[in-house]
């Protein structure tokens, strides 16, 4: 160690070093994401919950189909039923997305990261793009698997769906897309709030608590909430049957994306202006 030279080339040989690029930042963020164990566990939980819960819900719903009311049979959406597990699995993605930036704040790594890449928007963009890409792949795999497993369990007990049926392929792909939008949202929330616990709590409130409270409200209050609440509106993309007081699939997804864009813009601005 004492004999090692620090710079074989010496400090004068840096006349023309290349500028760091966005591609460099992407490679760096990919290394960060794959080199911590929480990534593996959170993605595993997403897949297992997405497929496993989807299967359980599909089996239970299919067995209850015969006894369900006429209106229940009219609104029977085997595709949405098989993708129901994804809504719960999305919590794992939200937690991982929050952690991939807020853990940098809690450990102090953010300072090391921002010294390496002082263009802060580049750090945020690279981090969210890498995480969104990983979520998209995992989300689509989970979504298709959940669909096929679910339909296999539904078949024979209740009408089931095929990928070629109208709106079905869009719904299955859509479940993965909604998860991807959620991934970007959770990175933004982690950037905005910085504390892992606070950001995770905010995501849980957004995903489950506040929509849950809305269910207890009278119709006149509940309907606009279920229609426009960003995560509920985004979830429309994974439905084939469009129930009353909900947006059309792509409109709903658009509402969610708009919400994500607003939160992301705030996070970007704060990251850029705050002392790290």
């Amino acid at each position: 160690m004492t004999g090692a030279t620090i710079a074989p080339a010496g400090p004068d040989h840096r006349a023309a070093f290349p500028a760091a690029t966005f591609g460099d930042a992407l490679r760096s963020e990919w290394t960060k994401l794959r080199s911590v164990r929480s990534t593996f566990w959170a993605l595993a939980v997403t897949v297992v919950l997405g497929i496993g819960l989807g299967a359980a819900i599909s089996a239970a719903a299919a067995h209850g189909y015969a006894k369900s009311s006429v209106s229940g049979k009219l609104s029977w959406d085997p595709t949405a039923v098989s993708l129901d597990g994804m809504a719960i699995a999305s919590l794992a993605i939200a937690v991982l997305g929050v952690l991939c930036i807020s853990s940098e704040y809690s450990s102090g790594m953010i300072r090391t990261s921002l010294i390496a890449v002082p263009k802060r928007g580049r750090v945020l963009a690279a981090k969210s793009l890498v995480f969104a890409a990983v979520t998209f792949v995992v989300g689509e795999v989970t979504s298709f698997a959940a669909f096929f497993v679910g339909q296999a369990l539904i078949g024979g007990h209740a009408p089931h769906a095929a990928l070629g049926d109208p709106g079905v392929a869009r719904a299955v792909v859509g479940a993965g897309l909604t998860l991807t939008a959620l991934a970007v949202l959770s990175v933004a929330a982690g950037t905005l709030l910085r504390h892992p616990a606070a950001a995770i709590a905010a995501m849980i409130a957004l995903l489950f608590v506040l929509p849950g409270i809305a269910q207890a409200l009278p119709d006149s209050w509940r309907n606009p909430v279920t229609e426009f609440w960003p995560t509920l509106a985004g979830g429309q993309l994974a439905n084939v049957y469009i129930s009353p007081h909900t947006l059309q699939p792509w409109t709903g997804f658009g509402v969610m994306c708009l919400f994500v864009a607003v939160v992301y813009a705030i996070a970007w601005t704060l990251l850029d202006h705050r002392d790290a």
């Binding site: 160690m1 090692a4 290394t31 960060k32 450990s107 010294i115 390496a116 263009k119």
Partner: protein
């Protein structure tokens, strides 16, 4: 080359850095010295673009840090050795930093070798001792082979062997023509490492000087005398304009007069001397003297 002009940082009503101007030259180890809370870390954070100055500006190689096209190839920095993800392996930590600036994987192994961490490269960061984490932080600063290096308290947590290694490394880096800025709250440490000193207290610049000059100008000399006629000699010295402090019935400390002069005075009056010792204040004491008024958190009632 690091240049700060009228740098000010305020947090609410507290002023952490107050109108700081300096320029740090290449080829030297510049010690950035000040008591805890003097504003050293805040200044370094502003140099590195982490904190925005309230007023003034600071440039590295003529540019603001956030405008550097390949920051790690121009500036290597270690602010806080524990500022890393505990679950990530040492090598992956360096790799993600290297990749962000387009630095090769080969260089990662190279810096691991330089700091002597090849053996624990596969260990997760939370399993590293503070000393190892310091070495890892130094390795990350060296990744880009930069011309400017900034270290905040780099010997914290190192064993004597490690401290010696860091000193040698700083000196080597400066000898290669690099700009090296090292902060410390220990004067004794800086006396062994630095060529130049930047002393701050309560966010203000107190001294910007070479180590030699600092020693010469601020080290107070005193003379320790033991004599059966101490009281008599004390009176003579006071008449001659020196300050005298009696520590024992037959021991006095004389300041403002060198030992030769004390000897002459004693001889002239026929005072017998048992002991006559010139005492040079240590660097540490000189530093304490200089920053006495600017220590942020002083224990009440304790004065030196």
């Amino acid at each position: 080359m690091i240049e700060a002009r009228n740098l000010v940082k305020r947090y609410g009503s507290t002023t952490a850095v107050d109108d700081l101007s300096f320029s740090i030259r290449p080829g030297l180890v510049t010690g950035f010295l000040g008591p805890n809370g003097a504003g050293k870390t805040t200044t370094m954070r502003m140099i590195l673009g982490l904190d925005a100055p309230t007023q003034g500006s600071v440039a590295v190689g003529g540019r603001s840090y956030r405008d550097l096209p390949a920051p790690m190839r121009e500036v290597g920095a270690l602010l806080d050795a524990k500022a890393l993800h505990g679950g990530r392996r040492a090598r992956d930590h360096l790799l993600c930093l290297a990749q962000s600036n387009g630095i090769s994987r080969r260089r990662v192994d190279e810096v691991l070798r330089i700091v002597g961490l090849e053996g624990v490269a596969g260990r997760r960061a939370k399993g590293l001792s503070l000393g190892m984490a310091q070495r890892l932080g130094i390795a990350s600063a060296l990744l880009g082979d930069p011309a400017v290096l900034i270290f905040d308290e780099p010997v914290n947590g190192l064993d004597p062997d490690g401290i010696h290694w860091v000193r040698t490394l700083m000196r080597t880096l400066a000898a290669e023509g690099r700009t090296v800025l090292v902060s410390s709250h220990l004067m004794s440490e800086m006396a062994l490492t630095a060529d130049h000193l930047l002393v701050i207290g309560k966010g203000r610049l107190i001294a910007d000087t070479s180590v030699d000059e600092f020693v010469r100008s601020s080290s107070q000399q005193s003379v320790h005398v033991r004599s059966p006629q101490a009281a008599e000699l004390a009176a003579r010295c006071r008449e001659a304009g020196a300050a005298v402090r009696a520590t024992d019935p037959d021991v006095i400390e004389i300041t403002g007069m060198d030992s030769a002069e004390v000897g002459r005075l004693a001889a002239a009056d026929g005072i017998a001397l048992v002991e006559l010792t010139p005492i040079r204040a240590s660097l540490e004491e000189a530093f304490m003297e200089l920053t006495r008024d600017s220590v942020e958190y002083q224990a009440a009632g304790v004065t030196r």
